[in-house]
């Protein structure tokens, strides 16, 4: 791990710019996963999943369902990690329409949808799994060298959040070999429990027990 740390120190690093904070929301002590459906931001709060309008910050929907970690949206359905499974949820009714086993067997943290696959962060095992959303079968696994919480894809870039002690960051990694390409450092003591891009220049970050969701500006990347 120390050699990996040496390499990560050489990658571009800057301070994360927090643009806006949402919450804490009524009845939601913690925020785990977050996702974005093109208009609303969805946040997993243990006992339910709520949706809020990022412009007004108002909660516009609340689904009653177990929501212990990452959240994702595939254009039609929400996916939500609960205990050792991933529930596929109809966002209109809150009904669970299917469930698959989570690859980390309960050690799962982040979740995102991209290119027909689900990507699942396995927290303390420092892994990201690409899985088949129909069966839960693992397609491949990317290793990180930090605890993995949120995971998101945007413009072909794979980003994950790490909550590992006091100093936490958003990292862009090479999906082929896990190499760290870019780092956004969060202020000391602020962690990210869930991560989702809005498809443009913002990341939404779950704030764990702070009960907040934070919007962080995505940097203009050298590769774009």
């Amino acid at each position: 791990m120390s050699s990996n740390d040496d390499t990560t120190r050489q990658v571009p690093t800057r301070a994360a710019e927090i643009v806006r904070e949402y919450g804490p929301f009524d009845g939601a002590e913690r925020i785990h996963g977050v996702t974005h459906d093109g208009q609303r931001v969805w946040a997993a709060t243990e006992a339910n999943v709520l949706a809020f309008d990022p412009d007004s910050g108002q909660v516009v929907r609340r689904l009653d369902c177990a929501a212990h970690a990452g959240t994702a949206f595939d254009g039609t359905h929400l996916y939500q990690i609960a205990e050792t499974r991933i529930d596929k949820i109809d966002p209109a009714t809150g009904a669970v329409v299917a469930s698959i086993p989570a690859p980390g067997n309960g050690g799962d943290s982040g979740l995102t949808w991209a290119e027909g696959s689900l990507w699942v962060g396995q927290y303390r095992d420092r892994k990201i799994h690409q899985i088949d959303p129909a069966t839960g079968a693992i397609v491949r696994t990317i290793e990180s060298n930090r605890f993995v919480t949120g995971v998101t894809w945007v413009d072909g870039e794979l980003w994950h959040a790490t909550w590992d002690g006091d100093d936490n960051e958003l990292r862009r990694i090479d999906p082929d070999n896990g190499a760290v390409l870019e780092r956004l450092e969060l202020p000391h003591g602020i962690g990210v429990s869930g991560l989702e891009s809005d498809g443009a220049d913002l990341f939404y970050c779950g704030g764990g027990s702070s009960g907040k969701v934070r919007a962080v500006r995505r940097p203009k990347s050298a590769t774009r």
Partner: protein, 406 residues
């Protein structure tokens, strides 16, 4: 935090310890160990809980200092509930500092309160008072505020300041009710009941009268010359002359005080103090010597004057004499009364104070310990004996959330 840890943490938060265990029973990563430890503690499995919390604290390591510190605090609280006071206060202080540095005020306060309660249990009342005075309980969860007030009440009771103690208990009850923790409310109620129970008796001119703690306090603050058979000494206002290490002199003083305002016959004094029914000249000579010693010791507070039959106690400044006795008779009651000052006594000091042999005292202590009326700390020569706290506040657990930051 991962999904099962979140689910188990939520189960614990709503009091479902078994549900929490179900979810993490087979995992050995530090957050799972911490949750298992807390669940075990809630189920009363203290030794197992300590072991799990210790492993969790080690596993978190330097990078996850916050989670590690919370485990140290949880383990210390379980140790306190087990009355195992041998843990390192330094480790707990370090955990408190680490929590403060990371703005986790509630758990830092929890750690400091555990340290205070440990000092109270060890009979280190001065240290406890200093620690307690340094705490700022404002803006904390009501359950912690209740514990802080209970500690203050205990400290006030030990130094017989019942008005202060009662006020602290009222605040503790208010906080406990806001916290809505039934066990905590019950403990405060129990502690308040101690104020209304009979704590001692007076013997005045042959009449016995039971006293509550506040009446004891009022008596000690009065003009009377109090011969205190609970703490073995003589008190007049602020002046206190201990006779704890002079059992013969104290027995003489008690006999004289019980006879006040009259005198007490020589034969009666000899029978009581030297425990013989057949006095001879040597006993009378010894009595004169002991009376001389007693005179010298209590001279600032009272005189002992010879009468034709024997001797009489004559307080200075025309004070009345009152004898304060343990609430019930017997050797064990005397032992408990001595321990009632909250200090840690050695067996030899107790034996000396009571004028009994160490073996007699030891036997009585073993019986009292079996009945949970006294506690001991340390072993062999370093063993010390204490009364149980008046406020039984250490039986409930307010375990911190020993989870990763999220």
């Amino acid at each position: 935090m991962d999904s099962l840890i979140a689910a188990a943490g939520r189960a614990l938060a709503v009091g479902d310890a078994l549900g929490a265990l179900d979810r993490v029973a087979l995992r050995d990563d530090p957050p799972a160990l911490a949750l298992r430890g807390i669940a075990m503690a809630q189920l009363g499995e203290y030794p197992r809980a300590r072991e799990l919390l210790r492993r969790a604290a080690r596993g978190f390591g330097a990078r996850e200092a916050l989670a590690g510190a919370r485990c140290v605090v949880a383990e210390a609280e379980v140790a306190l509930a087990m009355r195992d006071l041998g843990g390192s206060p330094r480790l707990l202080a370090q955990a408190a500092a680490a929590l403060e540095a990371r703005d986790d005020r509630a758990n830092a306060m929890q750690a400091r309160l555990i340290a205070v309660r440990r000092q109270l249990l060890l009979g280190r009342l001065d240290e406890a008072a200093v620690s307690l005075a340094g705490l700022d309980a404002s803006g904390l969860p009501p359950s912690l505020a209740a514990v802080a007030e209970l500690a203050a009440a205990e400290l006030a009771l030990r130094s017989l300041r019942t008005v202060v103690a009662r006020a602290a208990m009222e605040r503790a009850l208010d906080a406990a009710q806001r916290a809505r923790v039934p066990a905590l409310i019950a403990e405060v109620a129990e502690a308040r009941a101690a104020l209304d129970r009979s704590a001692a008796r007076t013997i005045h001119a042959g009449h016995e009268q039971p006293l509550r703690l506040d009446q004891v306090e009022a008596l000690l603050a009065s003009d009377a010359l109090v011969v205190d058979a609970c703490r073995r000494g003589l008190r007049a206002g602020d002046r206190w002359q201990s006779l704890a290490r002079r059992p013969v002199l104290f027995a003489l003083l008690c006999a004289l005080a019980e006879g006040w305002p009259g005198d007490v016959e020589r034969g009666a004094l000899i029978a009581r103090v030297f425990r013989t029914q057949h006095p001879d000249e040597t006993h009378r000579a010894r009595l004169r010597v002991e009376i001389g010693r007693l005179r010298a010791l209590i001279a600032p507070l009272a005189a002992v004057e010879a009468s034709t039959r024997g001797f009489e106690l004559v307080p200075r400044d025309g004070r009345a004499v009152v004898v304060l006795m343990p609430p019930i008779d017997g050797d064990q009651a005397s032992l408990l009364a001595l321990l009632g000052d909250g200090a840690a006594w050695s067996t030899s000091a107790l034996a000396l104070a009571l004028g009994d042999s160490q073996r007699t005292v030891q036997r009585a202590l073993v019986e009292l310990e079996a009945a949970a009326q006294v506690r001991s700390i340390g072993h062999a020569r370093a063993q010390r004996w204490l009364a149980p706290p008046l406020v039984g506040f250490t039986t409930i657990l307010l375990l911190p959330a020993a989870l990763p930051p999220e």
